[in-house]
Assembly symmetry: C2
Homo-oligomer: 96 residues x 2
């Protein structure tokens, strides 16, 4: 399934910035970063469960907020971008 | 339809912070802020078109990024939250 992970933390403190880096690293194992605190991931149910457990171990549940959104299966109706495009289609062929 | 608007801008400069406030104000006319730069909105096609036009007029397309995601119609399969919950269901009754 295709999911979006959004993360909110006060990165003005070093510990918050460190947690953001660790959440990003966990998400990057399953997808790509499209904005500073937004990640698009393509995962199975099992991978999503693993990712949630990893994130639970990283965040401070008293202050941080991580949201998981389930996106449209139809890629054409999934997302639109205004301004800078920082995404790529993970299913596209890579030309070397 | 139910959409998610995510916004990325360098808010360390005053102009960026001002643009973020203006984008937030535009989104809040159609939904709610659930994270610093994440907004959940319930809109018609016409309202989405209006919102996009408003945001286009606000952002700096050379540096800012605004993404619109189309979410699942089934609310139970739309989103999950770890940590702080900052959302409310706009369709819930308000108890006074």
């Amino acid at each position: 399934m295709y999911i979006l992970v959004t993360y909110d933390v006060d990165t003005t403190c070093n510990e918050g910035a460190r947690r953001l880096r660790r959440v990003a690293k966990a998400c990057l194992d399953y997808g790509q970063r499209v904005q500073n605190s937004v990640f698009e991931c393509e995962v199975t149910e099992a991978q999503l469960c693993t990712l949630k457990n990893m994130i639970c171990d990283i965040i401070d549940v008293q202050t941080d907020s991580v949201r998981f959104y389930y996106l449209n299966k139809n890629i054409a109706r999934r997302a639109e971008v205004l301004g800078v495009e920082t995404s790529y289609n993970v299913n596209d062929a890579i030309i070397i």
